[in-house]
């Protein structure tokens, strides 16, 4: 356990140094993240109290609502693209084989490779959401469960990349549906009832709901039981499924000798 924690630090340090070796790109990304947040600030100003009917369960402030939405959309993007991109990046840089010849497990290598992207995606929430009155512990629990769920989907996506190299249906499916049906930009109560059924099949819906209630209204763990319970259920299904799929993909790639092909 300690070894994994120290390896995680080692991966974050590596990614940080690599990122900071491209300083201009790093600050450009930070700048456009701020720019993006500013856009939603003015959209929120425009909306004012117009959406109060739908936003009331989340405290009524659209800016805080949407900021959590886009941060989690960022987490989903990191999960869906991060894992498959880290496989591809390491394949293209030529470092994948050098890592896979060490005793560290392939799934640990891929998971730890995305840590830095998750940290970077968290900046959005820290930049804009007030934590006064928030239930930070509940928010952290939901964050961890969200990352576990999204990462599992990302590992499934990476398994496709490992075998087919390009063309990953998991990525396309979740990216296109989660923003529309998961409640990133608007509460799902805005959707017609039959479309809300789709929303309830996505982990994003429960992550966002739980996180918004925990951060914006300070809900207790007891009040958040439905969201936390559902995320635990998603994790219980997705984690073993994704690890099995990834193990199968690595074995198939080793069998075909295509581990480093891209």
């Amino acid at each position: 356990m300690i070894a994994i924690y120290r390896k995680a630090l080692s991966f974050v340090r590596r990614s940080y140094v690599l990122q900071m070796s491209y300083k201009f790109e790093f600050f450009l990304r930070l700048f456009f993240m701020f720019f993006n947040i500013l856009t939603y600030y003015f959209v929120a100003k425009l909306i004012g109290t117009a959406g109060m009917k739908y936003l009331e369960p989340y405290g009524g402030d659209y800016f805080s609502f949407v900021l959590i939405g886009i941060a989690f959309s960022g987490y989903l993007m990191v999960s869906l693209r991060g894992f498959s991109e880290s496989v591809r990046d390491e394949q293209m840089m030529g470092t994948l084989e050098a890592m896979l010849v060490t005793p560290t497990d392939a799934s640990a290598i891929i998971t730890l490779s995305t840590l830095w992207s998750f940290i970077f995606a968290s900046f959005r929430v820290l930049l804009g959401v007030s934590l006064a009155g928030a239930n930070v512990l509940a928010a952290l629990i939901i964050l961890v469960l969200t990352i576990v769920c999204f990462s599992s989907i990302g590992i499934l996506s990476a398994s496709f990349i490992m075998i087919f190299k390009r063309g990953d249906p998991i990525n396309m499916l979740f990216m296109s549906t989660s923003e529309l049906f998961g409640g990133v930009f608007f509460p799902i109560s805005v959707l017609p009832a039959w479309l809300q059924t789709v929303s309830h099949l996505l982990p994003m819906t429960y992550s966002l709901n739980g996180m918004r209630h925990a951060l914006l209204q300070g809900y207790t763990l007891r009040e958040l039981t439905p969201e936390i319970g559902t995320l635990v259920l998603f994790s219980a299904i997705l984690v073993p499924l994704s690890l099995l799929a990834f193990r199968y993909a690595v074995r198939k790639a080793k069998m075909e000798g295509t581990l480093v092909h891209y």
Binding site: A3, R6, K7, S10, R13, R14, V17, L18, S21, Y22, M93, G94, T95, E97, A98, M99, L100, V101, T102, P103, T104, D105, I109, F164, R251, K254, M255, E256, G257, L259
Partner: protein, 306 residues
């Protein structure tokens, strides 16, 4: 130097393969998969290979491009799964105990892209040390020691992209030694080096890795003089098959006085061996890199970053 055959001493086995085979099925398109068309056939770069390499031995596999040397090394390093036969490295099965195999081996490749070019040499080695479960002070101490062994301490905090080809190859060796492996696999380690640097590397392998540390080395090479100079045993490998194994001296003697290793190759494969690069040229080799750095930061041959 035939170090194990004298005196009837039987050493433990480092690598053992029995009828090891790898066939790559020619890939089919997704429409073929859906329509369940049979595969288009296959190629067999490793075909029924039997090997027995004892601990402490330097074993060379000599063959032309495309002979299957790299595939064989990758199977032994657990990066490719065999389709038939068995292989054990340090007593561990490469399929069933792949984790134990990886704990006990090091791999030195010629692929200079296998490092992070924008990290320094030290940062690269510390990162790979963590993958071998060495952290903090342990990792720092080990990396420092290895940088000393490969004579790169002076450039440890320079970015990898500034290293010359010879320095990159030394870094690959340092990385291969991170876990103090019992067996070190080297896939054409002198391929991208000029004759002087290649000779320097061979001297280094002989002195520092074989004589000082007594490692078992499995080296693939495309260079006859290299095989002759470094290896206790040489296998002539072509079309996925081992044609003959023996000490360089015995192999040459088997064809009569004055025979060369190239004659042995021709005799057993029916093909003329075409070498890549020269060997046996005595030149300053790696030392030149250090002098290059001292003269205003140049490393000799620089290449673009990644």
């Amino acid at each position: 130097m035939h170090r194990y055959s004298g005196g009837g001493i039987i050493r433990e086995t480092a690598i053992e393969t029995c009828k090891l085979t790898k066939t790559f099925v020619v890939s089919r398109g997704i429409t073929d998969l859906i329509r369940r068309r049979p595969s288009a056939g296959g190629i067999t770069p490793v075909d029924g290979v039997d090997l027995l390499i004892r601990k402490g031995e330097v074993f060379g596999i000599l063959g032309p491009n495309g002979a299957g040397k790299t595939t064989l090394i990758k199977i032994l390093c657990t990066l490719i799964l065999p389709t038939g036969g068995e292989a054990r490295v340090n007593g561990f099965d490469v399929e069933k105990e792949s984790g134990r195999v990886r704990e006990s081996i090091g791999l030195v490749t010629t692929d200079e892209r296998s490092f992070y070019w924008r990290l320094t040499g030290r940062q690269n080695l510390e990162f790979f040390a963590s993958l071998h479960n060495f952290f903090s002070d342990d990792a720092r101490y080990m990396v420092d020691e290895l940088l000393g062994i490969v004579d790169l301490k002076y450039a440890a905090d320079e970015r990898f992209l500034n290293y010359s080809a010879g320095m990159k190859q030394k870094m690959a060796i340092a990385r291969g030694l991170l876990n103090d492996p019992a067996v070190l696999f080297m896939d054409e380690p002198t391929r991208s080096l000029d004759p002087g640097a290649a000779q320097g590397l061979r001297d280094f392998i002989k002195k520092e890795i074989v004589e000082e540390r007594g490692k078992t080395i499995f080296i693939s090479t495309h260079n006859l003089a290299e095989a002759e100079e470094l290896c206790d045993q040489v296998a002539i490998f072509d079309d996925g098959k081992i044609k003959v194994i023996g000490t360089p001296a015995d192999l040459k003697a088997s064809l009569g006085d004055g025979s060369k290793l190239s004659d042995v190759f021709l005799h057993h494969t029916g093909k003329r061996f075409e070498e890549r690069g020269g060997a046996g040229v005595t030149a300053p080799g790696f030392r030149r890199d250090r002098r290059g750095l001292g003269r205003g930061g140049g490393f000799g041959r620089r290449r673009g970053g990644v």
